[in-house]
Symmetry: D3
Subunit: 171 residues, 6 copies
Amino acid sequence: MEKIRGFYIGRFQPYHYGHESVIKHIAEEVDEIVIGIGSAQLSHSPNNPFTAGERVLMVTHALEESVSLPFYVIPIEDIQRNALWVSHARSISPPFNEVYSSNPLVVRLFRESGTEVISPEMYERENYSGTEIRRRMLAGEDWQSLVPPVVAGVINETDGVRRLHDVSGSD
Amino acid sequence: MEKIRGFYIGRFQPYHYGHESVIKHIAEEVDEIVIGIGSAQLSHSPNNPFTAGERVLMVTHALEESVSLPFYVIPIEDIQRNALWVSHARSISPPFNEVYSSNPLVVRLFRESGTEVISPEMYERENYSGTEIRRRMLAGEDWQSLVPPVVAGVINETDGVRRLHDVSGSD
Amino acid sequence: MEKIRGFYIGRFQPYHYGHESVIKHIAEEVDEIVIGIGSAQLSHSPNNPFTAGERVLMVTHALEESVSLPFYVIPIEDIQRNALWVSHARSISPPFNEVYSSNPLVVRLFRESGTEVISPEMYERENYSGTEIRRRMLAGEDWQSLVPPVVAGVINETDGVRRLHDVSGSD
Amino acid sequence: MEKIRGFYIGRFQPYHYGHESVIKHIAEEVDEIVIGIGSAQLSHSPNNPFTAGERVLMVTHALEESVSLPFYVIPIEDIQRNALWVSHARSISPPFNEVYSSNPLVVRLFRESGTEVISPEMYERENYSGTEIRRRMLAGEDWQSLVPPVVAGVINETDGVRRLHDVSGSD
Amino acid sequence: MEKIRGFYIGRFQPYHYGHESVIKHIAEEVDEIVIGIGSAQLSHSPNNPFTAGERVLMVTHALEESVSLPFYVIPIEDIQRNALWVSHARSISPPFNEVYSSNPLVVRLFRESGTEVISPEMYERENYSGTEIRRRMLAGEDWQSLVPPVVAGVINETDGVRRLHDVSGSD
Amino acid sequence: MEKIRGFYIGRFQPYHYGHESVIKHIAEEVDEIVIGIGSAQLSHSPNNPFTAGERVLMVTHALEESVSLPFYVIPIEDIQRNALWVSHARSISPPFNEVYSSNPLVVRLFRESGTEVISPEMYERENYSGTEIRRRMLAGEDWQSLVPPVVAGVINETDGVRRLHDVSGSD
């Protein structure tokens, strides 16, 4: 019997419990997971404060604690040409046969390429979102409760909240 | 005490026992290893037949069998500007504090950036080389004995030898 | 006597009767027409749903029906450097000696390069515009009457309205 | 019954009777032809003297004289990533369902994407080749007999032989 | 004793007395100045009307009149990857050991690379800003008093106000 | 009377007395000189060991000693599209009205754009060449006598000969 390898992509700015709830759900249905770190080339901006390398670290540490099947964490740069994006993602990822995404563009692009896509619900989307977490970081509110402790650890080691303040031009 | 994370980069076209001997040696000196898949954008050419995704699969499966410490496998595209390469590699890899390389350019670029580099000896370099393995694939000679069985498995599943023949214009 | 070849550029997302009215007007004044498909690299987005190839098809079929002189349909990618755009357009188009455009940037760039530009009026610009057509597609209103039947045919064959819905995140 | 649209790609530096013999053969088997002008971004070099625009002109004029079915002439820039090339070519060309090529890489890439490829024989390949024609241009030998008269016309109008001399550093 | 070379970057769209006040201040503290012309690839747009070459001319002429120490004027293209920007700027500029900037992103990026940054106050920032000057150019108000006469000269020679009108689509 | 500004481009890997002889000759015929540092993005390779910034320094210091008219030193990255190169060079350089070059491609490209080019003789080309100087650096022979002392100074400060050895894989 062939192995089922599922693909899930996000920007993970930062990784949070919303991602975790989706990935745990996927983990019940596949043998292995490929996590794509989207917009890998972006960092040090208000919407994309963390580098791809920092995000690889967050995701890897978080998945080591929450899922027990094999996984791959792959930085994927934007390619600025939607019509080529599926080929791009497939060429730098281990081969996968199922795709999980709620992003309408990702869903459409995979469907046009002949790959069916499963759109999982994300848990409490209004709180568990990168936008909300970055907002709280800038406002000095609690954000740690929205991410796994190992992710908070990576952010603190890289002085991430201070970086977000600086690149947002706030103080 | 801070963790030591070592960085090792190769093109892995394909991964072979020469790489394994170096990585086992590194594994004795660090806590975690980051493996960079160099020239990640190249594939389907005589010198670079395999995609980054296929190489991620080879390296991951091989390391699962040969080392017991945590590792990260990161595709790294060429950037065509040597003076920026170190920043590029650092931005998409988890942070590392030791670099292992025998490539004179990699050594020089890291040294100019202030990072010391350790140049390990590679075991039987004349046989255990991607060039020799690709030559044997085209000549119909034994190449399987130069790579771990899991790597031969990935190559066979992706019809790799036939692809190499095709893109080399040989028959 | 030398042949007069006119150049006209648009994004054609999609091609509509406004374009047709301009092109018919140009056709009265030149011997041959070069149609540039602008922003050729864009597709699958709310403002640029169609690929360059689909737009080549729309324009070619439409011009076969509406003009009787020779024409060339050339996809032109954006170059992100305005100062180079005229050279870029000239290098991938058959040589032309007259330019028709109402786009202020295109007009300025050609003028600085020493080429005079003719700015034709577009017929009923408020209705015959890509923006209005894409709005109607999303709203489920009549858009077919704004484009030639062969263009509606191309859009329907490529499931274009559904694609626009999907990439717009609407339903 | 669905239309059969065939795709044929070449660099056409310049277009010659060898291309014509292949295209006439294809024309017997399809309803429409898409001609891709490969390496469209290259010009003014010893192996690629002509711009994409000049090559569009050569191919268009030559096909107007030699085939009677509809055709599209599409400049296609190199994308430097073989794994994405098929998606790239498909996104800027009208949709096609048959591919004709003798280039081993093109054949392989389309096959991996699930498209069958037909490899036509080229007539007297040793003479009817761009390499031979450019050699003759530099040597001052007869090259005109290897290309259709309309192609020789385009080359002469653009002072092509002198350009080839200049960029080859010969005199 | 080693020479102190200071680095200061701006877009200079156009160069104005605000820049001059900062540069005069820097000139008191260093031996040589490197002026980076940021976003060098941009021109002919409402926010970036002038080419890099025109800005080199403005800055060079202005500094010849206002400072008496050696200076270098270096066009620096954007690199679209913040994590690589410092390496990029350092690779095309003469080596510098002090950085002057009030841009929060530039400050942060240099600090993460281990370079301290001095943030000088800009004189009357609300008036002496490129945004205000371009607004006045479009409104037909006095802008000449905000820039050195040699800068106004460069702008007039290149028909700069007319260009700004044209690319802004105003009249 | 309008100012005559001459343009001269080289890679300057490194700057040597052959360049100086040409530039002194140009200086007799123009009011100002623009020096383009070609292939600005290349460094740390056997044929292009020095960064653009290091080359700006070499050229600036050398010209300060050998010519007495105003000059501009402009790094110019390759653009990989010959047909756009003249527009590219013009957009990042101060406007120039005379071009000096012996490079056949540069001569041809400027001529096609309508700019006449003057091809100066270079003094003792077989010795005064970057190729010869880099060969001598690797062979441990005298190279200092072929370059102005200030250039040798820049090379020594950046540990240039050692870098060339390292990136050449020699020892």
